[in-house]
Amino acid sequence: MRKKILIFYVLAGIFLVGFFAVGLSVTYAVILGTVYDRVSNFQDSDYARDIAVEKGLNPNVYVVGSVWDSLGNSGYTDIVKYSSTGAVVASVSSGFFPESVALNPSDNSIYVIGGENNITPGTIKKYDSSLNLIAATTTKPITGGGACDGRHDINGVAVDSTGIYVVGRYKRFTPPSPCGASNEDFRLIKFNLALTQQTGDYMYDSGNTQEGASAVAVDALQNAYIAGDKYNVSYLDWVVGKMNSVGVFTEMEVYGGSPFGDVPRDITVDPASGYIYAVGENDISSGSISARLVQYSSSTLVSVWATSTQPFGISSQSGGTGVAVDKFGSVYISGGAYVSGSPGWVQKFTSFGKLLFTNPFGNMCAKSVAVDDNNNFYMAGQTASACDSGGSDYRTVKISSRCNGTSTLPGYTIPWTDNPIISNQTKIKEVHMRELRSWTNDRRVDAGMTSSTWSDNLIVPNQTKIKATHFDEVRTAISQAYSTCGRNIDPNIGGPNVTIRGAHLEELRKYILSIPEFPS
């Protein structure tokens, strides 16, 4: 027999009026707070390029980049692990110039790649979570390549349970020696997780003489999504495509046409939805750079939407540098300006492309962005008045983001049991109260609050009487969350010994879903 909630009070109505009277704001509330802001000065020119974050409640982050002294020498500390509070847990010198990092969440090992320079091959190194070097290897010319093959410029790395994926630009010169005109293609090399074996080596040549890959992301089926560019007569085209597990490449978008070109810088996959996101620079012509963010469908392999953004106006000349997706499917992009004095920034978008907020970082170029599972995002880059200028330091910032979680996502729903509650028809059950409690605490955590405790924590069907206290607690708890998010609501709990109606439960559901805005 279903448990029917025993009613001990009636909602007085004032509670509901209190909720509704405040209006129907469409502004997406968000409360951003700096958890830590670290500047590390290792040498004369310190240039953080990429960041990776662990899973879990108190995740560490790993920042990699390039460090030079005034003579151009390397060999200084350039990989740093920060704790969840910003303390330096470990740091090490990689011995090369790291460009990109990927983290294997199963053991928190990291893979760092980069280092190619002129006649120096690309380097791939694996470190454990304490930054001990576990294994190392270098890129080799392709099997069967000619003696004139040049060095492989590697730019991006991704990891899954089967191995790591490294992409870049493979340059071949025409034999015989002294080696003439060159041809450049996308190249993807796959290694096993131990880095002891190269397990795949794939090229993509569209027919253009100049193509190169900048970044890679991988889905659950070992498909690699690659962002890069190709030279089209007199300008660069933006190229994003999928390379399947046997090396067949499918172009998903070729975008271009502006005087200088359009270039993607980073790419990621949302494992939950399967959407792919690429970010970069577009319309690179005199005085008009902007950041471009594109969502692609993994099923149709075409773009779903694209948006261009210039957070600080056209004069800032800002391009997109990094992209990450949180557990709710929201998208974060980082960017930096090429004009002195304009800030770096992180923006958050819904999976529908709606801008939720912009967070500026003064005197810096944001080179990469990452998110954790606890509503925090991270930005790594260089302290500099403009992107890519010298004399900078590593800067890593962790920002907490409250009240901007699921509830601001268009179309987001909570899978309530018996939805909707129908008056005089739906019996109020234990599961309804359990869900209210659970989702109320979810909203509180999203607002940066602790979970609420409940009397009769375990409501047992046919045993536990649902009392006014239970409803009071949920109302108070969600009211506190609204207050934290900047909306004051008087819970105005009614007195005991009155009858709860289905509408009352419905109202609570709406408010729990809608926070930080009021239900429409």
Binding site: G95, I119, T123, A136, A147, G287, Y338, S389
Partner: protein, 217 residues
């Protein structure tokens, strides 16, 4: 009597601690212990993690590799690379990295003789010849590079330095592939005062030089 015994025990404990060489935070994981040894310890300290396997990897080997590699990096002496296991981390890769840095600090080609692996020695000599070619601005020196595949990149690097020194006098058709484009964008940026042209330069040296030229202005 008891006091003497306690003092003696204290001395024994002190000696024991010092003999251990390194001390670890309470509850340190194997990875954290190796991290401490890497920073403050010696090869002998790696015995403290003997027989410990983490994710299928022998951590005494990891420890030895890290101590050897960091020693090589700090001293720029390739002899320490021979302390590597040559499986997880190859001696050749280590020697190549160390000798590259050595050459970049201005060392003579004679340092290449310090390599124990032929591949690293050849690479070292080639890096030296690249440096000579760049410093003298002489592309012909690139043809003395032993690795044929490195000759064209060498010539391009020499040309890049020529471009940086004298943008207006550079002939972009001498470059190949994306460097031709980079060269044109570099010249366009500097000649036209258009910083944006710098942003799509793919060559790190040219891109950095291009953007920095605007930062200085």
């Amino acid at each position: 009597m008891i006091g003497s015994v306690l003092i003696l025990l204290g001395i024994i404990f002190f000696i024991y601690q010092n003999n251990k060489g390194v001390t670890f935070p309470r509850g340190a994981s194997t990875e954290e212990k190796v991290s401490v040894i890497r920073e403050k310890g010696t090869m002998e300290d790696c015995a403290l993690v003997r027989g410990v396997m983490v994710n299928g990897t022998d951590y005494e080997t990891v420890c030895r590799n890290n101590v050897a590699y960091q020693l090589a990096l700090k001293t720029l002496d390739p002899k320490y690379c021979k302390g590597l296991d040559n499986k997880l981390v190859s001696v050749e890769q280590c020697e190549s990295e160390i000798l590259l840095k050595k050459i970049n600090t201005g060392a003579d080609i004679a340092v290449c003789g310090g390599a124990s692996v032929q591949g690293a020695e050849i690479y070292c000599r080639d890096v030296y010849r690249l440096r000579e070619a760049i410093q003298k601005g002489d592309e012909a020196l690139c043809d003395t590079i032993e690795d044929i595949g490195s000759r064209a990149p060498c010539r391009e690097r020499v040309a890049i330095e020529g471009l940086v020194k004298n943008p207006s006098g550079a002939d972009c058709s001498r470059f190949s592939g994306s460097l031709t484009r980079d060269c044109r964008n570099f010249k366009n940026a500097l000649n036209g005062g258009d910083r944006n042209a710098c942003t799509i330069i793919t060559n790190d040296r040219l891109r950095s030089e291009c953007i920095n030229s605007f930062s200085k202005n």
